[in-house]
């Protein structure tokens, strides 16, 4: 990769390759009346222009069947690959142009004449659920696309006996995935092989294949989807987007391979995002700060279709509970269709919002009761002795929400010690005397990781001695291949470098799911571990038969199987693999079955909960509202750590995502649904020069849920960041009593809060 030998979707060059560009909706909501492509067809280099009507000739269904079976969903809104007669968000694909270069294709797109009749828009999800609101889609019964009340415990009695009740309203925002490599698809139909090969920068190639089979009327053996090197996923690439069907369909119709590489403008408008959540909540607590219950309503900006169910608000809701004993909970969740690109989970996947709500409520309780923030948390932690800890909420897989293990009080204790919590007030006081406003924030969190229902892995020692691993898991730069190779190497006694891992090729695995929900080390890691264990066992038996010794007397070292204590008695893995490849007519040694390979489809039910605690020191420039983060400390417990460098990289990156969400990243729309932040000059990603040093300290509580004892680590760093940073800023501004209820916290927003909080007589 570092030598430039990586192969991303855009690196794939094929003879006769054509290039696609999309005509996209310039308006958030309109009735599509006419698409006039006449002027375009005669342009130089243009090889095909397809509207929905044109593609429909080869489509076996109008809508892409993405619906997931979530009971909360009132009606599914499956997208079409190109707009039919209604435009529902800016950026929605309307037509695909195939030309000899991307530039020519874009010229042709500009020459298409579009006639549409504007319709009223739904931009704000609250307004969209008011009576009399316009419909975000005329083809749907209303805007309330999903509705659910998540509840347990006796909420009314909790509030009736509470000594303390606090109401809050939070408006939270989270932007997009913003992988370095945007999306991309290359499709080629080969008549000789009778095979449609699609290179797709996806997190879920098997799902993409299923969709292509369903929509193009091909059989499973006629479609192969390959996710080549993928430059970052972060969630959006888990969703099957309309272009992933439109490009292969166009390639079939034009009779030549077609490439589409998403540009950044398309990425901002047409790639799914996370966006807005509005929370109205109330907490009930005892006089000594113990939680009794939380109730409220979550209103979620869902966008114009339902390509990924309700996972995002569901995660947000369940993450409110976190590592605390919460006896009663009742949250109404309302999902409003809006005229924006669909909202789906992005790294962190709603959890930072849920955690923010709980942690802010705990800070409010601390302030009301004049208790230290850490003490309120200590009084509410689930104790390690209470594990496994079940909460009466049914998960997607039908199991009860159950925390498998973790020592939350110890995690916070280590955090406070590392961050210098007790010494901080003196530092803060000294800084205030110098006119510097610093604060220290903390937050605890959990993440449900390792979502099933299964993942596949196969391990094979070929007659050449080469070792192949294939998995349904996918790699977008997280280090998946390294992690899997490491696990196999450990079992087979070889070096990780000698192992070739194929991730993300439907031709290499029968089934697979892919990258989402911080799951691949848990699911694919354990699958490959088991498969490698089976192969190692087979190798021992085979070598035992060949060497006429007992399998227990053998060890696997440096690519050899040798007799313990008699190292000259050995066979190489290659020799054994050749023998077990068979010779016509001859029996295999020990009459063992042929081959040195194993395939495991590891079933994974229930979730394993990663936990952690963050502390951050923030400094506020009270005249400008600017915030600087001085130091960031993470205590992270993802069970057994397979590769510390990879885990640290994941936590660093995820914390940065969380910092961006809190202070910088803002996908803005105007009142007509036009996206306003569609370049990186307007949408601010965190850059190295605004980041603090991030210290990561591991705590290892191996889970009993899987043989490796591992939990997921990919998203967890995002989850506590907004809560910890806001807690730090409120701490810095404690003399002013500033309360922060909106993310992202821009300097203008914070300065307005400071100005409003200014007490009479102050000259701030």
């Amino acid at each position: 990769m570092l030598r430039g030998a990586g192969r991303f979707t855009d690196d794939i060059e094929l003879p006769g390759l054509l290039h696609a560009a999309f005509l996209r909706s310039p308006i958030a909501h309109a009735r599509l009346k006419r698409i006039d492509t006449a002027a375009t067809r005669t342009l130089p280099g243009v090889r095909g222009i397809f509207t929905f009507a044109d593609l429909r000739r080869i489509l076996t269904c109008d809508r892409i069947p993405l619906a997931t079976p979530a009971p909360a969903i009132r009606f599914n809104v499956d997208p079409t690959c190109l707009a039919v007669d209604e435009l529902c968000y800016v950026g929605e694909p309307i037509a695909i142009v195939v030309a000899e270069s991307r530039a020519l294709a874009e010229d042709a797109v500009n020459a298409i004449a579009l006639d549409f009749e504007p319709l009223p828009v739904v931009v704000d999800p609250h307004a969209g659920l008011e009576p009399g609101a316009p419909k975000a889609r005329l083809d749907c019964p209303g805007n309330l696309v999903a509705h659910q009340v998540m509840k347990y415990g006796d909420i009314d009695s909790a509030f009736a006996r509470a000594a303390l009740r606090i109401k809050e309203r939070f408006h939270l925002h989270k932007g997009g995935g913003h992988s370095i490599e945007a999306r991309g698809v290359v499709a080629r139909f080969d008549r000789i092989e009778d095979l449609l090969t699609v290179w797709d920068g996806t997190q879920m190639p098997h799902r993409a294949k299923t969709m292509l089979v369903a929509c193009l009327g091909l059989s499973e053996n006629q479609v192969r989807v390959i996710a080549p090197d993928v430059g970052g996923g972060f969630g959006p690439k888990a969703v099957f987007h309309p272009e992933e069907l439109a490009v292969p369909a166009a390639a079939l119709l034009v009779g030549a391979p077609v490439k589409w590489i998403e540009d950044r403008l398309e990425n901002f408008t047409a790639t799914v995002q996370e966006r807005d959540q509005d929370w109205r909540v109330e907490v009930a607590a005892t006089a000594d700060g113990k939680l009794l219950g939380i109730r409220g309503r979550l209103c979620h900006d869902h966008g114009a279709a339902t390509p990924y169910g309700v996972a995002l608000p569901h995660n947000a809701a369940t993450n409110v509970i976190g590592p605390y004993v919460l006896p009663a909970f009742e949250l109404e969740i309302a999902l409003c269709l809006t005229n924006k690109v669909p909202a789906v989970p992005i790294r962190g996947a709603g959890r930072p919002q849920g955690t923010f709500v709980m942690e802010m409520l705990l800070d409010r309780i601390a302030a009301e009761l004049s208790l230290p923030r850490d003490e309120v948390r200590r009084r509410n932690f689930i104790a390690p002795e209470q594990m496994p800890y079940t909460i009466p909420i049914v998960q997607r897989d039908g199991t009860m929400m159950t925390y498998d293990c973790g020592d939350y009080p110890e995690c916070q204790r280590r955090l406070l010690e590392t961050a210098g919590w007790t010494a901080f007030p003196a530092r803060q006081e000294a800084a205030r005397r110098e006119g510097r406003w610093i604060g220290l924030g903390l937050a605890n969190y959990l993440e449900a990781t390792g979502r099933g229902p299964f993942e596949s892995a196969s391990v094979r020692i070929a007659p050449s001695g080469a070792i192949f691993v294939a998995t349904g898991a996918t790699a977008q730069g997280q280090g998946v291949e390294t992690m899997l190779a490491q696990l196999v190497a450990e079992s087979l006694g070889v070096s990780p470098q000698s192992i070739r891992v194929t991730a993300g090729d439907t031709g290499a695995t029968l089934r697979g799911l892919g990258a989402f929900a911080s799951r691949q080390t848990v699911t694919a890691g354990n699958a490959v571990h088991r498969a490698a264990g089976i192969v190692a066992e087979k190798v021992r038996k085979a070598a035992a038969a060949m060497l006429e010794v007992a399998p227990e007397d053998l060890e696997l070292v440096d690519g050899m199987v040798r007799v313990k204590g008699v190292p000259e008695m050995k066979r190489s893995l290659a020799e054994i693999a050749r023998v077990f490849n068979g010779v016509p007519g001859f029996a295999l040694p020990g009459k063992l079955p042929p081959g040195l390979d194993a395939t495991v489809e590891l079933e994974a039910y229930g979730l394993t909960y990663t936990n952690g605690a963050h502390a951050v020191e923030a400094e506020v420039d009270i005249e400008t509202g600017a915030v600087r983060l001085n130091r960031y400390v993470v205590i992270h417990d993802c069970g057994r750590v397979i590769n510390p460098m990879i885990v640290e990289g994941q936590v660093h990156g995820a914390v940065v995502h969380g910092i961006g969400m809190t202070l910088l990243e803002w996908m803005r729309y105007d009142a007509s649904g036009q996206p306003l932040s569609v370049t990186y000059a307007d949408y601010l990603l965190p850059t190295a020069d605004v980041l603090p040093r991030i210290e990561v300290h591991h705590m290892e509580t191996p889970t009993p849920m899987n043989p490796l004892g591992v939990k997921g680590a990919a998203e967890s760093g995002t989850i506590a960041a907004p809560a910890a940073i806001v807690s730090a800023i409120e701490d810095a501004l404690a003399p002013l009593g500033v309360r922060i209820r909106e993310l992202p916290l821009t300097p203008a927003r914070l300065r307005a809060l400071i100005r409003a909080a200014k007490r009479p007589g102050d000259s701030l």
Partner: protein, 291 residues
């Protein structure tokens, strides 16, 4: 994000460039391309012709003049940043240029390109306003000198004619006893500023302010000198709180707001930036005056 088709011209002399500008219709001049290239790729502009000034050597250079400093319009921001002569003769420009984009963009971006692009939040137009720079504009029909204060004609628009090229930028030298400062608030170090201020303050040995210049960016389409704030200082004996009152005069100026940074925030911030720039400039001026 591919530009609409255009014809690329790459003249090697100023004469050839002027000839092209006089002859062609719908032309844009490429002077580094750090703003124009993204605008082309986004198809925000679609010229038929692009005239690249990048090969015209006579437009590059930094020279000392009797009255201060003169820079060829195609001098890169990076060259300015690294110039000892600029640091000595025009330290305000040195201080500001570190805020201009990233090192990578400063390698290509030019002073003439930035001044003619006239982004309302850009640093170099603000410095030109504060220092009362003079631009030399040349066309086939002759040459004229334009005070920077007269140069902006509106948002992203200068009063340059379509056949003219800015060839040279002249900055007058600072008076003895003058302190300078450039201060801005940007979300990230390389971003365009939300508000920025440049200040020049001349203080005599009796601690009396002999001259003051305050220019702010981020309030409107072009950087502005704030005469009211300057007048509030000139002739005054330096004292605590004096500069804050000049900042308040800046904050009283009208500002154009947007959804992200409303006008009251921009005004207030411009006042804070002006106050901080003045404080820094005063520190430098007073330490110079007492030497």
């Amino acid at each position: 994000m591919k530009p609409a088709p255009f014809t690329y011209h790459c003249p090697e002399t100023l004469g050839e460039a002027l000839e092209l500008l006089a002859r062609l219709e719908n032309v844009r001049v490429l002077a580094g391309g750090q703003s124009l290239m993204p605008m082309l790729n986004l198809r925000l502009v679609a010229p038929d012709h692009l005239v690249d000034l990048g090969r015209i050597e006579e437009l590059v250079g930094i020279e000392q003049t009797a009255d201060g400093l003169a820079l060829g319009a195609m001098t890169t921001q990076r060259a300015i940043e690294r110039s000892a002569l600029v640091r000595e003769r025009c330290p305000l420009l040195s201080e500001a240029i570190e805020h201009v984009g990233h090192q990578q963009t400063r390698n290509r971006g030019t002073i003439g390109g930035s001044l003619c692009h006239l982004d309302p939040a850009a640093e170099l137009p603000l410095v030109a306003a504060a220092l009362d720079a003079t631009l030399v504009a040349v066309s086939k029909s002759g040459q004229r000198r334009i005070r920077f204060a007269d140069f902006p004609a509106g948002y992203l628009t200068s009063q340059l004619r379509h056949d003219e090229i800015v060839t040279r930028v002249e900055f007058p030298a600072l008076r003895a006893g003058t302190g300078w400062a450039f201060v801005e608030l940007a979300r990230r170090p390389a971003d365009f500023a939300i508000a920025a201020a440049a200040a020049l303050l001349t203080v005599d040995s009796a601690d009396t302010i002999r001259d003051a210049r305050i220019a702010v960016g981020g309030l409107g389409p072009a950087p502005l000198r704030i005469a009211a704030a300057e007048q509030a200082l000139i002739g005054q004996k330096y004292r605590d709180g004096l500069l804050a009152s000049a900042g308040a005069a800046v904050a009283a100026c009208p500002a154009e707001g947007d959804a992200l940074y409303p006008s009251d925030y921009r005004r207030e911030l411009a006042g804070v930036m002006a106050k901080r720039a003045l404080e820094k400039a005063a520190g430098r001026a007073r330490s110079a005056a007492y030497v």
